[in-house]
């Protein structure tokens, strides 16, 4: 594995939660200052979340959707050129999760909005030259349960509609030459190995994501998951954690913030307990050639996280 080819996810910017100085994340200048710093930390490729929320309310400084990119750069080609001038050679892929749309008891609204913006994310991925769209097939279990308290009895219905929606997206992904990858976060209706039946019901072109910390939190060995599914793995997210979910935190409305015991679930890569060296070694031995992305989601300090991640990669034999 070539560490130069490993991307960094821009989910390291804490744009949704409170902290001093957070407001700058909504201005264009912050991002344009960030790109060369990413390059200086040794990353020439990035992954970007696709977040429709920024097009509502005039916050187009955050370049995380088609509307915002067009507002600030006129089109994706200009934005890609700007990234390149600043040391970012490529956008490896995009991620998309539908939590924004689980906000009422209207199941049609959820699937309609998720399908609509998921499709938009695919088009944007193609325009950005991205290889994949990694999609979270469900909202937080706890948030679904807030609006659908009978969710446990309606899993078949949710699964059926999810498969139908993903099938449509997979078809479009195929036409665009973008790989659709399914995420299986520990908080999902389809977390961990519960994603397998969903993937089985979809086209062979649909791949699986490995998020090492998310599997660790769920009590699943990332190495075993990789070994069992190597032929269908589309992306690997090197994430770290010290947290193991023993009290069904995954079922709470805010599962990345365990309510009984405050903790930073996702630690900066290299500062948690996931055996990232073992995992990268395994990927090499299994001749995995797909995208690998480092993610410092929830970091307290994005600039320290960039360097911590680079420092980690230097210690790995990749």
């Amino acid at each position: 594995m070539n560490s130069e080819a490993i991307a960094i996810s821009l989910d390291l910017i804490n744009r949704h939660y409170q902290e001093p100085n957070r407001n700058r994340y909504e201005s264009r200048y912050f991002w344009e200052e960030l790109y060369p710093l990413i390059a200086a930390a040794g990353f020439s490729t990035i992954e970007m979340p696709y977040e429709p929320v920024w097009q509502f309310g005039g916050r187009t400084g955050v370049p995380f959707n088609e509307y915002c990119v067009n507002a600030k750069y006129e089109n994706a080609a200009n934005y890609r050129a700007f990234l390149k001038e600043n040391g970012i050679e490529a956008v490896t892929g995009l991620t998309f999760d539908p939590n924004l749309f689980m906000r009422n008891d209207q199941i049609d609204f959820f699937f309609g909005a998720t399908g609509h913006f998921g499709s938009q994310a695919l088009s944007h991925a193609a325009e950005m030259g991205a290889r994949y769209l990694a999609i979270s097939p469900s909202a937080y279990y706890g948030r679904v349960a807030q609006y659908h308290p009978d969710i446990d009895n309606r899993m078949d219905e949710f699964a059926e509609r999810t498969i139908k929606m993903l099938g449509t997206l997979a078809e479009k992904a195929g036409e665009l030459g973008v790989t659709l990858v399914l995420r299986n976060e520990y908080w999902s209706l389809f977390g961990g190995e519960r994603i397998i039946p969903i993937a089985d019901a979809l086209q062979d072109s649909v791949k699986l994501d490995v998020d090492t910390a998310s599997l660790f939190v769920a009590g699943i060995s990332p190495a075993r998951f990789i070994e069992s599914n190597i032929t269908r793995i589309g992306t690997v997210h090197l994430t770290d954690t010290d947290f193991v979910d023993k009290d069904e935190t995954w079922k709470t409305p805010n599962p990345e913030f365990p309510s009984d015991q405050a903790t930073q679930v996702y630690r900066d890569p290299g500062t948690g307990s996931v055996d990232l060296a073992g995992i990268t070694g395994l990927l090499d031995r299994m001749d995995y050639k797909g995208p690998v992305i480092c993610s410092a989601r929830q970091t307290r300090d994005p600039f320290r996280a960039l360097l911590r991640t680079r420092a980690l990669l230097k210690t790995l034999s990749i």
């Binding site: 100085n21 407001n23 909504e26 005039g58 906000r103 409305p253 405050a262």
Partner: protein, 307 residues
């Protein structure tokens, strides 16, 4: 009881915890100040300690807030236990100028009123329609349509014990040429006005003149300062001007801009204003510091004029 009670318009981004019981342990995980901005219990302590007895919530926070607490009522009870009451919520009356969106605008407005009632609030500060860019200039008929929607929502709100207050942003399609036309086209018994001191000044209204002219319509305030009054059309009508590309701030803590806030307080005294005033810190890099600076300015400069 003072004539003016002070609240904060909540500009906290998502606060992920209700209450952190392992504060020291959480702090030591990474030794940063994240622990100080991660739970509502702590946030409300800041408010209470600095004498802000009310909180005005933002509709964009509901998707996180309601599941975190279970219900609007549970959040309101939680704040009340900590000495802070929910006084109301902001509302954006999207597309209210457009007859094709009449039903949607009314439904959305009524739903917002219902939500505020669940929180126990009494104000719905309402931006009359969306941004100028892509929408304006509005025709006279569209301004009247907007007024019709405001009257209709205002009637529903009044029936539910809630006052709607027009709240104009400097970049809204209702703007300097039709701002007063809209106010005067609404029913004073049903539609009130929330003065956002900085927003209307940036738009081009003189703060003190505007308050003097419309003092009998004013239900509440969003109090903040600006050093950018009277911006030209090219700024106000631009795409997404609120969050600037270069980080320029439109809004400052009272006393850090150049609005005549002391003049405003002399007029508040003249007209014997009684009610809530929300402080807004949108654009601040440090909401807690802004809250403390504001309290200092209130106590030393403004409250001596009128309290």
């Amino acid at each position: 009881m003072p004539n003016i009670r002070y609240a904060n318009m909540s500009h906290w981004k998502t606060i992920p915890y209700k209450q952190i019981n392992n504060f020291r342990e959480f702090y030591y995980e990474d030794k940063t100040n994240t622990a100080y901005y991660s739970d509502w219990d702590t946030i409300l302590k800041y408010q209470s300690a600095l004498g802000f007895d009310g909180i005005e919530i933002a509709p964009w926070d509901l998707a996180d807030l309601v599941p975190l607490f279970g219900s609007a009522e549970d959040f309101a009870a939680f704040t009340k236990e900590r000495g802070v009451e929910v006084i109301g919520m902001f509302h954006g009356a999207h597309a209210s100028h457009d007859p094709a969106h009449y039903d949607e605008a009314i439904r959305s407005g009524r739903e917002a009123v219902d939500t505020i009632a669940k929180f126990g609030g009494q104000y719905m500060n309402t931006c009359p329609t969306q941004n100028y860019c892509g929408t304006g200039p509005l025709s006279r008929e569209e301004v009247q349509q907007c007024a019709k929607v405001m009257n209709e929502i205002g009637a529903y709100a009044t029936d539910h014990g809630i006052k709607i207050g027009l709240h104009n942003e400097f970049f809204c399609a209702i703007n300097l040429p039709n701002h007063r036309e809209l106010i005067e086209s609404t029913d004073p018994k049903l539609v009130h006005y929330c003065i956002d001191t900085a927003q209307i000044a940036i738009m081009g209204e003189d703060l003190c003149t505007f308050y003097d002219d419309y003092h009998d319509r004013i239900s509440t305030f969003h109090l903040k300062d600006t050093a950018s009054a009277g911006q030209p059309d090219s700024v106000r009508y631009a795409q997404d001007p609120e969050i600037t590309d270069d980080g320029k701030r439109w809004f400052w803590e009272p006393g850090l801009g150049n609005l005549d806030l002391k003049g405003l307080y002399r007029l508040l005294k003249k007209h014997e204003f009684k009610g809530w005033m929300s402080i807004e810190y949108d654009g601040s890099p440090d909401l807690l510091a802004s809250m403390a600076l504001t309290r200092h300015y209130l106590d030393n400069e403004l409250r001596p004029i009128y309290d």
